[in-house]
């Protein structure tokens, strides 16, 4: 499917990441957004509130983030593509409904324009401190997809990726922006609608009576319905069987939770996006994501000019974690540095996968400012020497 030409703002724009994110959501077919004001994400919904009445969408400013994160799921079951947008304390409040989206397999996009925490923290300043929260923030075992953009253009492009993945894998998808990328102005090319690939929701073709909402017929996703199709489904946050009925025992739990995880973990190759600029036999390979990866790319360019053998890997998809890629990196390099705007989150995943094969170092930062070019260059030189 292609995007709707009557809604897409095709052309060249000079806009910030937050506005680009809203335009991307529109291009992806999102027509319902519920949100609550919170810095530094608010411009996303402000743009949506301006745009939606002109393209047949609906924005509702709810009473809080908890309400927003479940309101959108009501709209999804009604048959819409929907997202909510927040930051910091807001994403913490939404965590219970990340779990609801996971267990009910409700394709929902959660945009998190990350700011410094904990608590109220740094409302106007960036961080990448919610990476592990995105993965583990709601209670219980489940899997999510998380994507981190590094430019206004990618805020447009990859929020579409998020909607497409949500439809394909029926899970909560996080769009892990940050304050800097959200407020960064840049050139954003919005292509003609017929050049934008959009994954439409596929509804079951099975008639009522021959359909169970959580049964796997083909592939490894259950077939979706929306309300009013006559199937009279029941959806619950309780552990449930193929009928969607509560079935609370260890066997049902094992079956359901393992499927919620495997339906994503079995498709890491298809889900994962990364930039891999590896150098065979490099002294050091630096792994980063989001806005930090831009500083890293510059540092690597400068140091390569000085003759250093450095590899560079940028994770666009944070979750599910691309273990294969990092294992591959560990084969090709003498050491790894992870640069991230937190005091060490993704570095633990890298260490886990590398399993001692090569040393793994961290360039951490408590948030509030981007990691400086010189800090990255100094650390690379120190590790490479």
């Amino acid at each position: 499917m292609k995007a709707d030409p009557t809604a897409v703002a095709s052309g060249m724009h000079f806009i910030d990441g937050n506005e680009a994110c809203g335009e991307g959501a529109i291009a992806a077919g999102c027509r319902f957004v519920a949100g609550y004001p919170i810095t530094p994400s608010t411009e996303v919904v402000e743009n949506i509130a301006r745009r939606f009445p002109k393209i047949g969408g609906l924005f509702i400013q709810m009473e809080d983030e908890i309400a927003s994160s479940t309101c959108v799921q009501g709209a999804v079951w009604a048959g819409l593509k929907a997202m909510t947008v927040t930051s910091g304390p807001g994403i913490s409040l939404m965590m219970e409904h990340v779990g609801l989206a996971a267990i009910t397999e409700c394709p929902t996009v959660f945009v998190n324009v990350q700011r410094g925490g904990p608590s109220t923290g740094l409302p106007t300043l960036p961080a990448q401190q919610d990476v592990m929260q995105a993965r583990w923030g709601s209670h219980g075992d489940y899997e999510v997809i998380a994507v981190a953009p590094s430019s206004p253009q990618e805020c447009f492009d990859h929020v579409i990726t998020c909607f497409n993945l949500a439809e394909k894998y029926r899970c909560p998808v996080f769009f892990m922006m940050d304050e800097t990328v959200g407020h960064m102005l840049g050139k954003v090319k919005i292509p003609p609608a017929d050049e934008i690939e959009v994954v439409e929701r596929v509804y079951t073709k099975r008639p009522p009576g021959e359909y169970l909402p959580y049964k796997i017929y083909d592939g490894d996703q259950p077939e979706m319905v929306r309300v009013g199709m006559g199937h009279r489904i029941h959806s619950t946050g309780l552990t449930h069987d193929e009928r969607g009925y509560p079935d609370m025992n260890a066997e049902a739990q094992d079956k359901m939770v393992r499927r919620l995880c495997s339906k994503i973990n079995d498709h890491v190759d298809e889900i994962s996006i990364a930039e891999s600029d590896q150098v065979e036999g490099s002294d050091v390979t630096i792994v980063s994501y989001g806005i930090t990866s831009r500083v890293v790319a510059y540092a690597v360019d400068l140091l390569r000019e000085q003759g250093l053998k450095i590899g560079r890997v940028r994770l666009v998809t944070l979750w599910p974690f691309n273990e294969k890629l990092i294992k591959d990196v560990a084969q090709n390099t003498k050491s790894i540095i992870v640069a991230e705007m937190n005091l060490g989150q993704m570095v633990h995943e890298v260490e886990r996968v590398v399993a001692g094969k090569v040393p793994v170092h961290l360039i951490g930062h408590a948030g509030g400012a981007m990691i400086e070019l010189q800090t990255i260059m100094d650390k690379i030189k120190e590790v490479a020497s």
Partner: protein, 285 residues
């Protein structure tokens, strides 16, 4: 067996889920029976009826009704139903939950859905306690009543739910006990036909926890209390219908008003400002 009488409410219930979890003497089932009859009376097509519940004993209603139904998170049935209702203007969305779910953890959502005049019917089975978790105090537990977390009796002020709904702008507000099955059925029918936010409080016994802990006897004795102490006052000022421990109960239809729903207000404003540039939201149609 072909001439076995069929219960008129069978069509709205998921018979494959029976028996239900509710205790003997519990009032929730009675309210569901009234609800099922009201759906038939209001001639609502089951394909266009969606029931959303939160968590708790009453929260299980969504699981027993044979329509598209959602058993969501604790306290958040209303915001989920808001997204559903706004996106299916052709359907009737009903939120069915208990006093703890709707007015404690979900209190914020309750007042805002009423204020916005979202098109939904909220049925609150008020048994004055959290049944599912073992009988704790709720915002409606009367002063002095014992709960597992108020072993010396409740010392907090309570909500007067019809007054709360009224003051937030609800279009239709009624209260009945589960003794008043015909009146309750009639009021639910009316609520289902109401455009905008309608609210029904159903006073119901929890013999296992609230009645037992307060030595109020069983379900039958509670119905006797409802019969003896209820007075019907349609149109009563909701400020006067507050309840206290084993007090008189004022029941009836208290509020009927008509104001713009959320969607009507949205469309009116957008048409005024944007004119032909406005593209109305049609949800998933």
């Amino acid at each position: 067996m072909s001439d076995t009488p069929v219960n008129p409410v069978d069509g709205l219930l998921r018979m494959d889920r029976m028996p239900h979890i509710w205790c003997g003497g519990c009032g929730i089932g009675t309210s569901v029976n009234c609800f099922a009859r009201a759906v038939a009376k209001a001639e609502i097509d089951h394909e266009h009826l969606h029931v959303v519940s939160g968590i708790g004993c009453t929260g299980r209603v969504a699981g027993y009704v044979n329509v598209d139904s959602f058993h969501t998170t604790h306290g958040r049935a209303i915001p989920f139903a808001t997204g559903l209702s706004l996106s299916r203007p052709d359907s009737k969305v009903v939120v069915y939950s208990g006093d703890g779910d709707l007015t404690a953890i979900g209190g914020n959502h309750f007042i805002h859905a009423a204020r916005r005049n979202i098109d939904m019917t909220v049925i609150c089975v008020n048994n004055f306690t959290y049944g599912m978790t073992g009988g704790q105090v709720t915002p409606t537990t009367p002063y002095g009543a014992k709960a597992s977390t108020t072993p010396y009796g409740n010392y907090e002020h309570t909500f007067n739910l019809p007054n709360l709904a009224d003051s937030c702008g609800a279009q239709f507000v009624a209260r009945w006990t589960v003794y008043h099955v015909r009146q309750l059925t009639r009021s639910i029918t009316k609520a289902l036909k109401t455009k905008g936010f309608s609210f029904i409080e159903v006073i119901a016994p929890c013999p296992t926890l609230y009645q037992r802990r307060n030595k109020l006897g069983d379900g039958v004795m509670t119905l006797q209390y409802y019969k003896d102490k209820s007075t019907i006052q349609n149109g009563a000022d909701t400020a006067d219908v507050g309840m206290s421990f084993q007090s008189d109960i004022i029941v009836g239809e208290f509020v009927e008003r008509e104001s713009l729903t959320f969607m009507e207000g949205y469309e009116k404003r957008m048409k005024e400002i944007l004119g032909d540039g406005f593209v109305p939201y049609r949800g998933a149609k």
